[in-house]
């Protein structure tokens, strides 16, 4: 599922909260001043809580989101014939992608992505125009990108790594059915 549209509201809420805190601190200078010796100990106590909450929160987010990391199992190629996975070669070259024109719906596909010249990005956009998967296309290396398409239609491929002055026009695509 494309997560991009969900990120913006999350960002705006967090940014607004941070700005509100800083604004309140700025507005506090309108109140009668307090000696720093009084502010500092209280502030340091609160900071301990912030430190604990932030540290645990960030470590927890890392651990909880591990299953959503997009990386294929190590040694994926060794299992090429197992589980009905379809392995598809993708070749990027200034300024075009070579891919099959049709790919199956609801079947695990592993794209084997490489480049014949410079670094490119293999970005797959669904029929609604949302990014659903991406990986770099690198010369001398093959990146394995696992994807299962659950929506039929035409998918657009766009280059997502700057690759020269034809970068914006480097597009491809395939149908999923």
């Amino acid at each position: 599922m494309a997560k991009g549209p969900l990120v913006l509201p999350a960002f705006l809420v967090l940014a607004a909260a941070a700005m509100a805190v800083l604004l309140l601190v700025a507005l506090s200078t309108r109140l009668s001043p307090l000696p720093y010796s009084q502010v500092q100990p209280e502030g340091y106590k609160l900071r301990r809580w912030w430190f604990v909450i932030l540290s645990l929160g960030l470590v927890a987010i890392f651990a909880v989101t591990l299953p959503w990391f997009p990386y294929p199992p190590l040694r994926a190629a060794a299992h090429a014939t197992k589980n009905g996975t379809l392995y598809v070669k993708v070749i990027a070259q200034q300024y075009a992608f070579t891919t099959p024109s049709v790919l199956p719906l609801d079947r695990r596909i592993v794209f084997e992505v490489t480049s014949l010249d410079v670094n490119h990005g293999f970005g797959i956009y669904d029929p609604r125009g949302q990014i659903v998967a991406q990986v770099q296309a690198m010369p001398d290396y093959i990146n394995h990108l696992p994807v299962t398409f659950t929506r039929a239609g035409h998918y657009t491929v766009r280059c997502l790594e700057y690759c020269g002055i034809g970068h914006a026009s480097m597009q491809g695509g395939f149908d999923v059915r």
Binding site: G4, S55, D117, G121, G123, Y125, I142, Y162, G164
Partner: protein, 477 residues
């Protein structure tokens, strides 16, 4: 004017001049993406290359001058050495400029191997000149870092003193005193900076070798790692340099004192490590990268928020809270710079989450967050430093109405400009596209309007700065 002030203003004015030129290029590019003008891809990508390389160098120059000046208050520091470093950086900027205009070099500031050499639409000399320019910038930067490192080590009693180790572990450091917060910042920036500069020169030498003899091959994954280590850490350190004078400025404007504590020293050690290893997040989508490094990239990116918020931002908030803060343009810029740093940091943290990066990598979300903390953070910190100097020199500050006008145009324009990036990025619009898919052109239109409003505000900022600079000095020293 003293030699120290001359060094400060040489760095600051050059940095601001380069920043202004790069900002104009940035507005031109957003106008092209909005389809208001059409330069064509060759000129667009040449501008993009120059904009990226020039902007980072411009804020680095401000940071180098500002932190050098603060260290000069702490002891003897050679102005000549600082000017040699400055000259090397400026020579590098000139070389980069020549490679782009008239050379036409357009491989991006990242110049990811082998792009500068494959399918190039520019002459070979432009590639060589660009690479030499990057080498010169790295060399000047490294020279400056060595000067800072040598100074802090000498002044505060070696590694244990300069890093705050003696303070944390209560070792008797006599006859050396504990370094003030800005000196801890200078020490950490210098250590990371030397590593960064050496990385910049390493990739520069490798690519120059390939340029001179194409039979010399470079591993593309290695090149990507070294390039992003150099680029990420160099850009990141511009913020940490500025924190030196944020600490000093906040204390001056609030009339409170900010000392080095054990927590502050430990936080800076953590920063030293995180700045060096967070760059792995640039390679999340290179699935062939050794897998544990991807995890290190995410964890380091996440944890870098702890010293930033719990020490630098928290410490600044405590200084301001219920204080007798003098709200002048100088203090407003310093404080709002913190806002830009924190908000940009939130955007960066979201992008550093690998499952989200899968959707955001190389979309406009990336320039969204780094413009927030470079423009809304480091650049405002630089303006804060400039105004702090001008206000202290003249003993005067700007009238309230003018502060409101500057605040509304500058921050209003900046917000609209940045939202254009965030909205497009969240909708998957790729970065570095001369012609963007929908909704890119629409968001680029808002962004251009916002940037023009911001430019208007900055013109007022400049005029007011000139007015303050022309007032007689309160203290001739």
């Amino acid at each position: 004017m003293t030699a120290a002030r001359r060094v400060l203003w040489t760095y600051l004015l050059t940095g601001i001049a380069v920043f202004t030129l790069m900002m104009l290029l940035g507005i031109a590019m957003r106008a092209e993406q909005a389809r208001w003008v059409a330069f064509g891809p060759q000129i667009f990508y040449a501008m993009l290359t120059l904009h990226g390389a020039g902007m980072i160098t411009s804020v680095a120059l401000c940071g180098m001058g500002g932190l050098w000046y603060l260290m000069r208050q702490e002891g003897e520091l050679s102005a000549g050495a600082a000017l040699v470093a400055y000259a090397l950086v400026v020579l590098g900027v000139v070389a980069v400029l020549l490679s782009v205009f008239p050379g036409g070099f357009a491989a991006g500031w990242t110049f990811l191997y082998p792009l500068p050499f494959v399918g190039a639409t520019w002459p070979s000399w432009a590639t060589g000149t660009f690479l030499i320019g990057i080498m010169l910038v790295s060399l000047g930067w490294t020279a400056w870092c060595f000067q800072m490192l040598a100074f802090t080590l000498t002044r505060y009693g070696g590694w244990a003193g300069a890093s705050g180790w003696n303070l944390v572990f209560k070792r008797d450091a006599e006859p050396h005193e504990a370094p003030p917060p800005q000196s801890i910042a200078a020490f950490v920036v210098a250590v990371d900076g030397v590593l960064t500069g050496m990385a910049g020169m390493t990739i520069g030498v490798a690519l120059i070798a390939h340029w001179l003899s194409p039979s010399v091959l470079v591993d593309p994954l290695w090149a990507k790692n070294v390039t992003f280590f150099f680029g990420h850490a160099f850009a990141n350190l511009t913020i940490y340099m500025a924190l030196g004078w944020v600490y000093v400025g906040m204390a001056r404007y609030t009339g409170r004192e900010y000392h080095t504590t054990k927590i502050l020293a430990i936080a800076w050690w953590a920063t030293l490590v995180f700045v060096a290893i967070a760059y792995f997040h640039h390679l999340y989508m290179d699935f062939v990268q050794y897998r544990p490094l991807q995890y290190v990239g995410e964890i380091a990116s996440y944890l870098s928020a702890i010293p930033a918020t719990a020490v630098s931002v928290w410490g600044s908030m405590l200084l301001v809270y219920r204080s007798r803060m003098r709200w002048t343009l100088g203090s407003i810029f310093l404080f709002t710079g913190l806002v830009g740093w924190v908000v940009g940091g939130i955007g960066a943290l979201l992008d550093a989450s690998i499952p989200l990066n899968f959707d955001l990598h190389n979309t406009l979300w990336v320039p969204a967050h780094f413009h927030t903390y470079l423009l809304g953070g480091v650049f405002l910190f630089a303006l804060g430093l400039i105004y702090m100097q001008l206000e202290e020199r003249s003993g005067r500050c700007s009238p309230p109405l003018l502060r409101w006008i500057i605040g509304l145009t500058t921050f209003g324009g900046m917000t609209v400009f940045l939202l254009g990036f965030y909205v497009a990025g969240a909708n998957g619009v790729p970065r570095r596209y001369a012609i963007e898919p929908s909704p890119g052109p629409l968001t680029a239109s808002w962004a251009t309007v916002g940037a023009l409003l911001l430019l208007l505000g900055l013109i007022v900022v400049l005029i007011e700065a000139i007015r303050l600079a022309r007032l007689p000095a309160q203290d001739p020293a």
